[in-house]
């Protein structure tokens, strides 16, 4: 087991190194000179030269990569071209919004999806199954910003329970900050929950056809107990895989929702950085996401072993 974790860690580190090379060179290839962008089109050549030198853009490519990559190790992501502040400060400012948002959305979607999936599977082919699967079909098909608008209309405009947008910051207190995150989290969670519920249902139905389910029923255990005690745990592996993928998306793929709710999250940061050719910020955020995905995948792999004893042995 220790060997397995060590091996996974090493693979994770290797992936990070490769990703850093790819991210760095991709952004080097795309056209657009950050120095010129900062100074505007009327800048003199001399000023441009001077700025490029100051930013280190005149150094050889390999050198710049090494400098950037070694900085990453000490969490020094460099300085933003546009804001002239350390990139890590920008990220830190945004992650306190994005990370809680992603976690809340993920917990919500799991809490909705698994009971719905189990419920549907246990009533396969009956009206309750048809209705809940129809609802999830709707949830998968409808984009999350539509849910967002609907939620704002109902809970913010009509019922006036929560603010319609903006983020007061955690310094304003935990409760106001949380209420600002609830609607976006629900809007993000609903489509994810719909996907997850469908995966849970189909995975569970497959497991319910297995021989050991019949063995459990032959022991005299009622069907409902068999479902929760024997079937669900075996059906969890595909569910956990999807969860891992969803988390990566929720962390930075939420730009639309962040815009709808005026949330200062990572998605908006990276979007602004791209439009302003603030490459060093883009690089920093992307590397952070790569690291997050690798960590989540490691956790997913470990949870497989937790669920299934066959994976614990022999690795």
């Amino acid at each position: 087991m220790t060997a397995y974790i060590l091996k996974r860690l090493l693979i994770g580190i290797a992936t990070l190194v490769v990703a850093s090379v790819v991210v760095f060179s991709m952004l080097e290839i795309v056209p657009g000179d950050p120095a010129r962008l900062m100074l505007g089109i009327n800048a003199t050549d001399d000023a441009l030269q001077a700025l490029r030198q100051q930013m280190g853009l005149d150094q050889p490519l390999v050198w710049r990569y090494l400098e950037w990559a070694s900085g990453l190790l000490t969490l020094d992501f460099g300085r933003s071209y546009t804001y002239s502040v350390p990139v890590i400060d920008l990220i830190a400012e945004r992650i306190v919004v994005s990370l809680p948002l992603a976690v809340i959305a993920l917990v919500m979607s799991t809490a909705i999806a698994i009971p719905v999936g189990v419920f549907s599977a246990s009533r396969r082919g009956r009206p309750a199954d048809t209705i809940s699967m129809g609802a999830t079909q709707f949830g998968v098909a409808v984009p999350n910003f539509w849910f967002a608008l609907l939620l704002i209309y109902i809970f913010a405009v009509w019922l006036r329970l929560v603010p319609a947008g903006g983020f007061p910051g955690w310094s304003a207190g935990v409760w106001p900050a949380l209420t600002a995150l609830i609607l976006p989290a629900v809007a993000l969670a609903l489509p994810q929950a719909a996907i997850l519920a469908r995966v849970t249902r189909s995975s569970l139905l497959e497991v319910l056809g297995e021989d050991y389910i019949r063995t459990a029923r032959a022991k005299g255990i009622p069907y409902r107990h068999v479902l929760w005690r024997h079937a669900l745990r075996n059906a969890l592996i595909p569910v956990v895989t999807i969860l891992g993928l969803q988390f990566a998306f929720l962390l930075a793929g939420t730009i639309i929702i962040e815009n709808v709710f005026y949330l200062p999250g990572l998605g908006r940061l990276v979007f602004q950085a791209i439009t302003q050719r603030d490459l060093i910020v883009v690089e920093g955020v992307v590397m952070l996401l790569v690291a997050a995905v690798i960590v989540v995948n490691l956790l997913v792999d470990l949870s497989y072993a937790l669920v299934d004893p066959r994976l614990r042995a022999n690795r």
Binding site: L6, A216, A218, G220, I221, H230, N234, P309, A313
Partner: protein, 583 residues
């Protein structure tokens, strides 16, 4: 009143009748054998008693267990019966246990549910029953997971689950079909002991007449959802009054007629020894033990020369296959597991050889290496004078053309989305010249004809055929390139007895008409006896005994061969024993 009374039970699913007026009774302490071929409704009868029929099934009639009307019982009442008063053991031990729960949890679960015992008490009880079924604590603690057990051990766990609360009735649905003969004998003995100890009634379902005869006081014969005949085992089987019972009994003991193939090499050998004509006679081709000695001097006297014969069709020399073992430490190289350990033998053209052994003895690994699907760790395999080892795919083409394979499972070995023509023509890409579309169809038609199917079947899909017909398709696929050797891995063990008899006939017929040599891999000695000249007994990666089939099977020398022979169910012997007991 009997323990279980089934009267006029009918079941239909979506309007299709599955069971038609089944009658059956079991008394306390009685073993009732339920025999029939696949689709005869045996399992459906068992599921009706358990109240576990599929949702779409509609049952009518009367099933009464200890005075309780099962068909009218609520799900709660059935849950109280299942696992407490009625236990059930299933066919496939490999999948019958939940892979993510320990055996302790799984055995204790039913005990806790029915007796409301504490976890500790239930586990102590589970420990006792596991000890009883032959899984002692020292080697099999409660914390063991199913994947750490072999098939036979898993079946013991399933039996422990079923018998933990000393049920009044135990239903065993093909409990040993997936196990090799030695394990089968052990499991059947265990079931019989448990029945005797607890005065249980046992409903033993099997397609194997010999097993049922050996075990049961009374038998019921089913076909197409109807009971054909029922009664005391000895009387039913010795008189064989019902034509279907007779047909089943004859099919179980069927031995194909075999004629020698007039190939020069085989003819020389047989004529030179002067005993080869024995095999033209009906019945067992090698009934006299001396015959083998006369006919095949090199097989017996020349044992030292096995594997060195230059004119041999196939010669295997000192083959070894290691698999990487389980890693015990991060820093030590894992000990390899030796699956095949220095095996040598040779086969002549047209010769039919059986490779028998218990599951896990290495026989399938050996076959894979002969088929060049796996590379030996050490040793050499020569086929028609050509070395197979260490060659790439292109160089193996001619060898592959002359060597084909038939697998056990006629359902799994075809792509369900391809038509028969394409499936059977598959090996034709091994020919030197690519056949034209018409030649291809002609060859497929000829191969279908050869195996007793119609050329019209060419445009059908595999699902349109029955299990026996599919096995004919795989044989057609194997012979389309006119191979010199066919390797058959348990080719009839998934088939019903009457179909099995037909397929064995087909193998024998093709052997004499086309001169194909066979390497039959099987754990079933009746198959080996029926259609092979020679037999090799494999045990733990080595060949421990070999010789003419009849001689080895009648007078086994090695412990492994003796165990196989002793465990093999034999209908003649079983009936004789029953007759003695039941008068």
């Amino acid at each position: 009143m009997s323990l279980l009374e089934i009267e006029n039970l009918s079941v239909e699913i979506d309007g299709t009748p599955i069971l038609k007026g089944v009658d059956l009774t079991i008394d306390q302490g009685e073993v009732m054998g339920l025999v029939g071929e696949s689709g005869s409704g045996k399992s459906m009868t068992a599921l009706a008693v358990m109240g576990l029929l599929p949702f779409a099934a509609r049952a009518a009639g009367r099933v009464s267990f200890g005075g309780i009307d099962i068909l009218a019982a609520t799900e709660d009442q059935m849950c109280a019966l299942r696992g407490d008063d009625i236990g059930m053991v299933f066919q496939e031990p490999m999948t019958a246990l939940n892979p993510v729960k320990t055996i302790g949890e799984q055995v204790a679960e039913g005990i806790r549910w029915h007796t409301r015992a504490t976890r500790a008490d239930a586990e102590a009880h589970a420990r006792k029953i596991l000890d009883r079924v032959g899984l002692p604590e020292a080697k099999f603690p409660l914390s063991v997971y199913p994947h750490q057990l072999s098939g036979g051990q898993r079946q013991r766990v399933v039996i422990a689950i079923a018998c933990a609360l000393k049920p009044k009735l135990l239903i065993a649905d093909e409990p040993t079909t997936a196990l090799d003969v030695v394990l089968q004998k052990q499991i059947l003995e265990l079931l019989r002991d448990l029945v005797d100890e607890n005065r249980m009634g046992l409903l033993l379902i099997s397609h194997d007449l010999a097993v049922v005869t050996d075990m049961s006081d009374r038998i019921t014969v089913m076909r197409h959802g109807e009971v054909m005949e029922g009664g005391e085992t000895a009387r039913t089987l010795s008189r064989q009054l019902h034509p279907y019972t007779r047909q089943l009994a004859q099919a179980s003991m069927h031995v194909p007629q075999r004629k020698p193939f007039a190939s020069p090499s085989w003819g020389d050998r047989a004529a030179g020894a002067g005993g080869g004509s024995d095999r033209t006679q009906a019945g067992r081709p090698s009934a006299t033990p001396e015959r083998g000695r006369d006919a095949d001097p090199e097989l017996v006297e020349g044992k030292a020369d096995w594997g060195k014969n230059q004119s041999a069709l196939l010669s295997v020399e000192n083959i070894v296959r290691d698999y990487p073992g389980r890693r015990t430490s991060l820093f030590r190289k894992p000990e390899p597991v030796r699956a095949v350990d220095g095996v040598s033998f040779s086969m002549q053209p047209g010769q039919s050889t059986a490779l028998v052994g218990r599951s896990g003895c290495g026989k399938s690994t050996l076959a894979r290496m002969i088929l060049a699907l796996d590379r030996p760790t050490d040793g050499e395999i020569r086929f028609i004078g050509e070395a197979l080892t260490g060659k790439d795919e292109a160089a193996l083409k001619s060898a592959r053309r002359n060597m084909q394979v038939v697998f056990q499972d006629p359902y799994g070995s075809f792509d369900p989305r391809h038509k028969v023509e394409r499936l059977i023509a598959e090996p034709l890409h091994l020919m030197e010249e690519k056949p034209s579309a018409k030649e291809r169809r002609d060859k497929v038609a000829a191969a279908l004809h050869e195996v007793g199917l119609s050329p019209r079947d060419m445009d059908k899909y595999p699902h349109e055929f029955s299990g026996g017909q599919r096995q004919r398709l795989s044989i057609a696929r194997a012979i389309i390139t006119r191979p010199k050797l066919v390797v058959a891995d348990e080719p009839v063990s998934a088939l019903d007895v009457s179909i099995r008899a037909q397929i064995l006939d087909l193998f024998a017929d093709l052997n004499s008409r086309l001169g194909v040599a066979y390497l039959f891999i099987t754990h079933d000695l009746t198959v080996a006896r029926a259609i092979t000249d020679d037999v090799m007994v494999m045990h733990e990666g080595r060949i421990v005994e070999r010789g003419p089939t009849a001689e080895v099977l009648d007078h086994p020398q090695s412990d492994a061969a003796k165990a196989l022979v002793a465990a093999a169910p034999d209908l003649h012997r079983a009936i004789a024993r029953r007759l003695q007991e039941q008068g």
